[in-house]
Every structure is written in C-alpha cells, then in structure tokens.
Symmetry: C2
Subunit: 230 residues, 2 copies
DNA sequence: AAGTTTCTGTGTCAAATATACACGGAATTG
DNA sequence: CAATTCCGTGTATATTTGACACAGAAACTT
C-alpha cells in the first residue's frame, strides 16, 4: 500500500485511489485486437486485465494513461480518448479504486509490448477471443469498443491503426473489423475519395492478386481532420 | 489497471478527493438555462460554480450526483448522463480534486432550488448570460453542453425539459435552444410524427393565437425509446 | 508458358433521407 | 369586427445512401 491518505479530506468523503485503464486497440493479420496484461499479484492473480496505472501526484489522468502506454508498448503520441469513469465502491475487492478508461489506437507491428512490474504476460487478443477479465474490465472493454464504433462513424480513425503504407482494401478491413459489419467496396471507396489526407503512392502491394495500389496518409491533414470532428 | 500502487510507478500515487459536478439544464420562458450556485466559502468565494459534491465512502459517482440534485432541487429520477472526468493537478487551488461531470435535465417550474450548506445563492442562468465560473467549471459547462447537443441529435431528450403538457411549437423551441439553430416547423413536425410516445390531448393552449393543441408523453414509451438510443 | 483463379478497381441507377418552401384557419388583440 | 399573429399542413427538389456487375492485374496451377 501507499502512504497515508490526505488528512484534509472531510470525514464523509471517500479517499479513493484513482487509476487510468487503457483499452489499446491494434489491427494485425486482418483482425482487430486488444492488448491485455496478466496479473502476477493478488487480487485477480493470473487474470487478464486492461493495462493501467495509478495517477501520480503531479499527473492528470491522460498523462497517466500515456505513461502506462509508454512503459508498455514504448510509444508516444498516439490517439487517446477518454471513455468513462467507473466508481462502484466494490469494483476493487481490496480498497476503493476509481478508474477512468481510455481507448488508444496503435500499430502493433511497430511496437513490441513488454510485461513489466507486477505483470506476468502481455498479449494481443483478437476481440472475439478475449477471456473474461478481472475486476469490471470486461465492462470497460465493451464500453470502450462501443465508443470506438461511435467515433469511427464520424471520424477517420482507421488510419491510426494501419501501417505507413496500406491498400484501400486493408483500410476497409479495419472499418469492417471495428464496426463488425461488411461494407460495400465501391461505396467505401467513394467515401474515402472525400478525404484529402489520402495520398496514392507509385508502389503496389506485391504478393496479392490484382496488384493493389499502396496509399499513405498526409499526417498533418489527417490530424486536422480529426481535430475538426472532435 | 488496479494494481499495487508502488511497484513500478516511481512517482507517488495521488490521494485525491473525488467530486461529482452537475450541469443541470432547464427550459423556462423560451430559454435554455443552467442551474448555478454561488460559493459562500473559499476558494472562489462569491463565484458562481456548478453544483457538486464529494463522493462518499459507499457511493458511486452517479449516486453522488443524484444526491446533490436531490438536495438542491429536490428531485429524483431525472435524466442523468456522465460527461467526462477532469484531473488537472492544479484545477483546485487548495488540494487535489478530481471531478466527474454529469449533465441532468429537469423541469424548472416543478422544483424550487434551495441554497444549502456552503452556498449563498442558487439561480437559473440563461446559457447566454452565464458569467465566468470558478474552478474550471466554464470548461465543464461547455463540454456538457456540447455533449447534450450531440445526444439530442440522436435521442428525444427535449421532453425531459418540457412540462407535462406542451405544444409542438414549445418542443421545437427546446430543440432550437439546445442546438442553437432554427428549425423548419414542418420538417420538425414530420420528425415528431415518427415518435410513438407523443400523445395528442383534447386540450388546447389558451392565451396563444391559433389555439395550439397540447401534447403529453407516454412515459414508458419515452423511457423505452431513450433506452434504445443509449 | 498458358490457362485458371482470385483479388482489384470502377460507374450507374434506385431508394431513402434531408431540405426548401406557402397558404388557409384559429385565437387573440385592439 | 378587423387586423394581427401564430398554428397546422403537403409537395417538390436536392442530397445521401445503398445495391449491384464486369474487365484487368497479379498470383497460382499444372
């Protein structure tokens, strides 16, 4: 346990630890995946849970989330969105812990996650293979996924999950995986044509029939677009 | 994640008070209003702020918010939605306070707010006349309003702000006030016709030219509708 | 290397949805 | 009782969304 709690807190109000938990989405091998960690300590020893950490004295929660992600996958500056705050008094079996959840989008192929501290394992799980999680993290995951779906309908988020070069079919795959529904190829491409941040390269993807053209994003324009739809 | 506090975090974890702040929207005299309270204690003595309270030992934050609203406007069971959590270390000048904001919809004419505890005053402010608020509450208010606009576009929330009997023009007024834009009367009514929870009464509004018909809502059907669009 | 398979890339038409718009009737006002 | 103001209604147009088929490119098979 940590040191004594702030004594200035009034008798009646609760002094809770506050943590930030991250729902880290990645796209690999045609599947939407989520990064889970396995606990090496009680409570929920051996259980898979969302990566997270306690808010430090001088941090805001978003910084906590970014610190956790930096330690875990070694990446800065990724797309991070607050989802919700969970405060049921008994959601942690030992003491009072309030958690704010974030979802993050990363490119799995660029970062090797490492299990640090009280974790025994880190793994990418296809969304369909996620086991029941410790604490109330199954709920957090479901809520974050729902939020991601909602956001994807109005914001071009898929490109934060794709590698630097990608085909339009691959982009469509990301959309379909997140939304959980099939899309019409031609209608999908019509939508993408309205995005000014998509740049057609001279290259083609080799090893795939049809020889699809590779695209990349104009990073600044994509950022601007995401800014607009906040 | 809810792990041990001191294993790999080099910084001390923070023991923060956690509060729930409420952005209480009401509609009166053709205007969208928000309920603000005036502080009778430091810090921000004399400043207008959002009503809020500290989370108690056995409460979850939503219960804190409902308790605050019960004390303030004496009403239970109103529409309440979590908006976001604010955790900047210096957002409270004296000690660390993390706040989760909620927006609530109430019928101002049915409830007389009372200033309790450390408050000197309570007042409904038209949204356009809200002064700069204490703490970061101007931000909280703006965020909550933005969220309300977003929600109103997909959910029939306006009827939680209207009195028991209302005309369709009054309903349109609520939409226009929240969205901040004018709507076409005929198109608006066409949309309302798709709602099965609207019930036309035999009464007409007196004192208004044209003698508009009064409507009421089928409460269960409205609840069901709101449930669906969550 | 020739034929086969599979994936890419493209345009049009129909349906649904959203937007613009005007006038007669009812109740109040003076 | 005349004038004013607000209520209540339908249609036509534009925009958006959704369905759908075939030719070309690269890989695969033999």
């Amino acid at each position: 346990m940590d040191g004594p709690l702030d004594t200035r807190v009034t008798v009646r109000s609760a002094a809770a630890t506050h943590t930030a938990d991250c729902v880290v989405f990645g796209y690999a091998e045609g599947e939407l995946r989520v990064l889970l960690v396995r606990r090496a300590v009680e409570p929920f020893l051996g259980h898979w849970v969302l990566p997270g950490g306690a808010m430090a004295e001088t941090e805001r929660l978003e910084e906590t989330a970014r610190r956790v992600l930096l330690e875990l996958v070694g990446v800065r500056n990724l797309y991070l969105q607050q989802v919700a705050t969970y405060s049921a008094p008994d959601r942690h079996p030992v003491r009072r812990v309030v958690t704010t959840s974030y979802y993050a989008l990363v490119r799995p192929e660029q970062h090797q996650p490492t299990a640090l501290g009280y974790l025994s394992e880190v793994r990418w799980f296809p969304l369909s293979e996620v086991p029941p999680l410790g604490f109330d993290h199954s709920t957090l995951l479901a809520d974050a996924h729902a939020r991601l779906i909602l956001h994807l309908r109005t914001r071009p988020l898929a490109f934060d999950l794709l590698p630097e070069r990608f085909t339009l079919t691959e982009a469509q795959g990301v959309y379909e995986e997140i939304l959980g529904e099939g899309l019409d190829r031609r209608n999908f491409r019509r939508k993408l044509q309205t995005y000014d941040f998509l740049i057609e390269t001279e290259e083609k993807r080799r090893g795939v029939r049809g020889g699809p053209v590779l695209y990349r994003v104009h990073v600044d324009r994509l950022r601007a677009q995401l800014q607009k739809n906040t």
